[in-house]
Amino acid sequence: MIADFLAMGGYAAFVWPSYGISAIGLIAALAMTLSAYGRARARLAELEKNR
């Protein structure tokens, strides 16, 4: 059953990379966006504290 599902009717080599690349791209964008946001917030908080 699981093997059948993973085989994707013989198209596993095209279906899984499509989902894999999409997941990597979107998760990387999310991680980069969140970390830049966190850094900007921390930096501004620091500057406002030292004013």
């Binding site: 279906v15 791209g25 500057l47």
Partner: protein, 237 residues
């Protein structure tokens, strides 16, 4: 009305309230969409490669939507010279480039088994590749010009000129013979795709859109915070 929200402080307040809703919608819709994408039966012609469509088409939709948003913000920026419009346009570009790249790669991975080739230089594929170059050119232009106001103007003009490519992409399947299928969803007379495939497609489309909006809001907020930090630095903080 628009001007009220174009105030950075107001934008921070409003976007802070909207963000959890978009992020929540993105998680739920993409989660449900992924389940539906693998629960539906294989297509009688495409077999299981039809599942690639559920990540390909939404990526392509958002790629074009992001460009329309970028061009709209650029227009706003050129006409009313509002800095928030510059920020909105600038931050949409890297996201648009990502979704364009995802649409191209997943399309290629579908084309190989179905058309027998990863790539063909036809109207639809070429005009979509041009979209990627427009995004990259736009980002490069921002980085190439030191003065922020001048960079914003030049980039906005490029974004508006490039908007013609959206029209070319849309009608490319009607104007030229192509391997890419014609418009099968947003057409007169309704979609020509079976409901079992339309539901996962729309669910993923909604999820991708909500994810794009969430990321876009976060990037605009980041840029506003950075600009405020720069002002504080100049004040000698």
């Amino acid at each position: 009305m628009l001007f009220e929200y174009a105030n950075p402080a107001r934008f921070m307040k409003l976007s802070g309230q909207l963000l959890p809703w978009f992020a929540g919608a993105a998680s739920i819709l993409i989660g449900a969409g992924l389940y539906m994408a693998f629960a539906c039966p294989p297509d009688y012609q495409q077999g299981d490669t039809v599942r690639i469509m559920f990540v390909h088409v939404p990526a392509a939709w958002v790629a074009m939507m992001a460009y329309a948003a970028m061009a709209g913000a650029s227009f706003f920026s050129l006409v009313w010279r509002h800095p928030l419009a510059d920020v909105a346009a600038k931050t949409a570009a890297p996201l648009g480039a990502l979704f364009t790249a995802l649409a191209l790669v997943t399309g290629s991975l579908w084309g190989r088994p179905m058309w027998g080739t990863f790539w063909v230089w036809d109207g639809r594929l070429t005009s979509f590749l041009l979209l990627l170059f427009l995004y990259l050119g736009y980002i490069a232009l921002w980085n190439a010009i030191e003065d922020e106001t001048r960079a914003a103007r030049a980039a906005a003009i490029l974004a508006l000129v490039g908007a013609a490519d959206l029209v070319i992409i849309k009608f490319s399947v009607d104007w030229w013979t192509t391997l890419h299928q014609g418009e099968s969803i947003f057409r007169l007379g309704g979609p020509t795709i079976a409901d079992v495939f339309l539901w996962p497609l729309f669910t993923m489309g909604g999820g991708y859109t909500a994810l794009f909006v969430s990321l876009w809001i976060l990037r605009i907020r980041t840029e506003i915070l950075e600009r405020r930090a720069r002002v504080l630095m100049l004040e000698g903080g």
